[in-house]
């Protein structure tokens, strides 16, 4: 239909209807298919055209080209049918050129006798569209934000359906987004069995009730929601500690639209925390232990200090700040009294105290210990000799603390003094003893000398005896001979001569006289020999070391003591060749004499004495040996053990000093030699003296 045909009667909306329509708030447009018959204010506003402009327009002119056709069709249908038509989305171009999307609904309006009119009601969808679009955009934006967030995140809607599951979350949980999106199975990412997540609880406002059970004590409110730390064994290789947060999402009206859950793998941090905690625990334990130790040590130290056998005092200047029991004992004080004292009280004079401090200062200043001994005074007046060591202690305040270790050395001093005196006494006694020993040795020498003298005297007496006698006889012979001679010279008568001849015992005389002279000569030479032997034996001329012939020495010794020996024993000599031996010959002869005399004494009745000599090498050195063997009574082992002891003798009291062998032993020792003993009761005894040919080795 076109507008021209309608000219006959211009179409108009009935006035009543028009008034009603004008009051409707929604944009309305009435048309008969041609021009716009009526458009209310809302429509005018919507389209941006005035009523007049609209009246001049076709009813669909305002639609964009793309939607006009559909609109026209729709309009036609509306005019021709009574059915309720569906709404139609139309894009409108406003007067300003903006495109708005409208939801248009068309209805036929017809009076009973009137023309068919089309009522077009539009709903501006633009805002809605816009909002929708915005929402979509927002949604997309949010999606992108969530997706790109490196923090694993997911979003649940109010139905607990997963709407967002970002890549980080997939990585964490191992669940790709498509497996959970749109489902109520967010738990799959975290648990093996359906378990409410924090997000679920937040959404359902069940956090306070069920949260602790799920999350433990870590559950707490955050600025925007709730957070907790849970250990999820399902994640990672051995399970992870996950810091979970959940915050409600609200729409523009403030209504909850969903919940966003975020997670962080805090395993490392947790582990570190645990480590730290453990460390701290350990440290605390160590500290506790150390403290305990320290305390113990402190107690020990205290106990030690208190019970130490040395006096321990700490002073600060003249003030005594610490002391132990021993100090009190040293100074004869009760501990209570000690507290009343000051440092100088314990010195003999204040001057001494000052001197000590002055002496100590340099050492203490260097941090060294100061050692000193001095006289100190007890408060009761008693004086002590005290040894002290002082150390600088820690400084609390400006007066340095000095630690003193004290020991009462009075006793020690006294003991030392006594010791010195004793030592002196001992020295004196020792000197006296040495002297006495010397005297004893002298007397032993004297005794043996006496014995020697007796023997020698006897040996000399015989020759002297008969020489003396013979001299007397000689005198008488000579007198008689002289008388005869004189008578002959005188020319005495023959009978007188005969008488004198008879008186002189001439025949006997002539025979006897030469014998007398021979015998006397022999006697004197024997005396000479004995004296020489004595000289050789004693070697008075040789007190020094010299090279001697031991065979000669042995022989002369034998002669000297022959008197002791010749009645008791047959003498056998087995001398070997001996080199000169470096020795004190006189002393060695003394040894030989001792052995020979002992051997003679050991023989009961009659026996044999054998003397042997020889050389032998021992330990690379040449030794001369001299042996005296007897067929005497012999000695049992217990006697052999003791023979070299001074004063040991088997002879009855008065016979022998018992020093002979001990003297011999020391003489041989002096020569660097030794004495061998071989004896058996009943068999006899053999002594062998070894002497180094070269003399004793320098010690």
């Amino acid at each position: 239909m076109n507008a021209a045909t309608a000219v006959a009667t211009p179409l108009r909306v009935p006035a009543a209807a028009a008034a009603w329509l004008a009051a409707v708030s929604s944009p309305i447009l009435v048309s008969a298919g041609g021009r716009v018959l009526q458009a209310n204010a809302a429509m005018q506003r919507l389209l941006g055209h005035s009523a007049d402009a609209l009246a001049a327009m076709d009813w669909d002119a305002w639609a964009t080209d793309s939607s006009r056709d559909a609109l026209r069709q729709h309009g036609l249908r509306a005019l021709t049918s009574d059915a309720e038509l569906p709404v139609l989305e139309v894009e409108a171009c406003t007067a300003s050129g903006a495109i708005r999307v409208l939801e248009v609904s068309l209805r036929k309006l017809q009076d009973v006798d009137g023309p068919a009119l089309m009522l077009l009601t539009a709903q501006d969808l633009s805002d809605m569209r816009y909002v929708q679009q915005s929402l979509l955009d927002m949604g997309r934006l949010m999606q992108q934000i969530v997706d790109s967030d490196p923090v694993p995140s997911f979003v649940l809607n109010t139905e607990h359906v997963v709407t967002h599951w970002n890549a980080a979350c997939s990585q964490l949980t191992g669940l790709p987004a498509y497996q959970v999106l749109g489902r109520r199975e967010a738990w799959r990412g975290f648990y093996d069995a359906p378990t409410p997540l924090l997000a679920d609880l937040v959404l359902d406002e069940r956090v306070e009730a069920e949260g602790p059970a799920l999350c433990g004590s870590s559950l707490r409110r955050s600025a925007s929601g709730w957070e907790c730390e849970v250990f999820l064994p399902r994640l990672g290789t051995e399970g992870c500690w996950i810091f979970m947060s959940a915050a409600l999402l609200r729409d523009s009206e403030g209504r909850v639209s969903g919940v966003i859950g975020k997670m962080q793998d805090v395993s490392l941090r947790r582990r570190a925390q645990d480590e730290l905690r453990r460390h701290q625990q350990e440290l605390e334990e160590i500290v506790a232990a150390r403290t305990a130790e320290l305390l113990l040590t402190h107690h020990d130290l205290d106990a030690f200090l208190e019970n130490a056998p040395v006096g321990i005092v700490a002073t600060e200047g003249t003030r005594i700040v610490r002391y132990n029991r021993t100090v009190c004992d040293i100074f004869n004080l009760k501990p209570a009294d000690m507290a009343q004292c000051s440092t100088p009280d314990f010195f003999v004079s204040h001057e001494e105290y000052r001197q000590l401090v002055k002496l100590a200062a340099p050492k203490l200043a260097q941090g060294l210990g100061f050692l000193h001994e001095l006289t100190m005074r007890c408060p009761d007046g008693q004086l002590l000799w005290v040894q002290l060591i002082a150390y600088l202690g820690n400084q609390d305040g400006d007066v340095p603390r000095i630690w003193w270790l004290l020991q009462d050395r009075s006793e020690v001093m006294r003991a030392q003094r006594e010791l010195s005196e004793n030592y002196r006494d001992l020295q004196v006694t020792n000197a006296r003893l040495a002297e006495a020993q010397n005297q004893l040795l002298q007397s032993e020498k004297m005794a043996s000398l006496g014995q020697l003298a007796a023997g020698v005297a006897h040996e000399i007496n015989n020759p002297i005896g008969f020489v003396n006698s013979n001299l007397g006889s000689l005198r008488r012979y000579v007198e008689a001979l002289l008388a005869l001679l004189q008578a002959q010279e005188r020319g005495a008568p023959a009978d007188e001569l005969a008488r004198l001849r008879a008186a002189a015992d001439l025949d006997y005389l002539i025979e006897d006289l030469p014998q007398l002279l021979d015998e006397s000569e022999e006697g004197l030479s024997r005396v000479k020999k004995i004296v020489q032997d004595l000289k050789d034996f004693s070697r008075v001329d040789a007190a020094d070391w010299q090279d001697a012939d031991l065979n000669a020495g042995l022989e002369s010794t034998l002669n000297v003591v022959m008197n002791e020996v010749k009645y008791k024993a047959e003498i056998v000599r087995e001398y070997g060749p001996l080199p000169p031996v470096r020795c004190l010959a006189g002393q060695l002869n003394q040894v030989f004499m001792n052995l020979i005399v002992n051997a003679a004494h050991a023989i009961e009745g009659h026996g044999r004495l054998t003397l042997r000599t020889g050389v032998a090498a021992q330990a690379g050195r040449e030794f001369a040996w001299v042996e005296v063997q007897d067929t005497g009574v012999g000695m049992p082992p217990e006697v052999i053990k003791r023979i070299f002891e001074p004063f040991f003798t088997t002879k009855p009291v008065g016979k022998g000093t018992g020093l002979g062998l001990s003297l011999s032993f020391s003489i041989v020792q002096k020569h660097g030699g030794c004495i061998e003993v071989d004896s058996e009761p009943g068999r006899g005894t053999r002594f062998r003296v070894w002497v180094p040919v070269a003399g004793p080795v320098a010690a």
């Binding site: 006897h458 015989n462 008969f466 006698s469 006889s473 007398l516 009645y567």
Partner: protein
């Protein structure tokens, strides 16, 4: 009268020679005839003492084999009337005391001796011997007269004094008489 025998015992031959010499010189003038005999070995001296009577015995103290004391003791037993003189160069006082006491030595002389001392002692010794002999004879006579001593015994004793050992006869197993007696 028979000569008086003197026995000198000393292990030193020169002593024996000197003694003999002296005694011969000193006592030549005396009325008595002396026979001086020597023994260097005391065992030899014992043998002699068993065989002949001696008026005087001079012995040394210390000798090898037999000591002077033992010799003198034996001599006393064998010939109680033989005077015993000890001549010694020893200074051992205890030994000497023993000798004097045990052997009842009549006189003691030390070596070296003096001539006049020797002469004096020997003379005294001989006189003593004479006295003892006469005393013994007198006793025997008295005993015989009292009937205590038979004439045979008296004669035996007299013979024994003259010749010691003569009254003793030793026979061997066959009954033969042994002439030589060893100690």
């Amino acid at each position: 009268m028979n000569a008086l025998r003197l026995l000198l015992v000393d292990d030193e031959p020169h002593i024996l020679a000197a003694l003999s010499r002296q005694l011969r010189q000193l006592l030549r003038g005396d009325a008595v005839e002396l026979r001086i005999e020597q023994a260097a070995d005391p065992r030899e001296a014992l043998r002699l003492l068993r065989e002949r009577p001696y008026a005087l015995l001079i012995s040394d103290y210390r000798m090898p084999g037999l000591s002077g004391v033992e010799l003198l003791r034996e001599a006393r037993r064998l010939q109680p009337h033989c005077t015993r003189i000890l001549l010694s160069g020893q200074v051992d006082r205890d030994g000497l005391a023993g000798a004097i006491n045990e052997a009842a030595v009549h006189r003691f002389m030390s070596k070296p001796w003096r001539d006049d001392e020797l002469a004096r002692e020997v003379r005294a010794g001989l006189a003593e011997h004479e006295r003892l002999r006469r005393e013994a004879e007198t006793l025997d006579q008295v005993a015989a007269e009292a009937g205590r001593l038979s004439p045979q015994d008296r004669e035996l004793r007299r013979l024994e004094r003259l010749e010691p050992g003569i009254t003793r006869v030793v026979r061997d197993n066959d009954g033969a008489v042994l002439m030589d007696l060893d100690a």
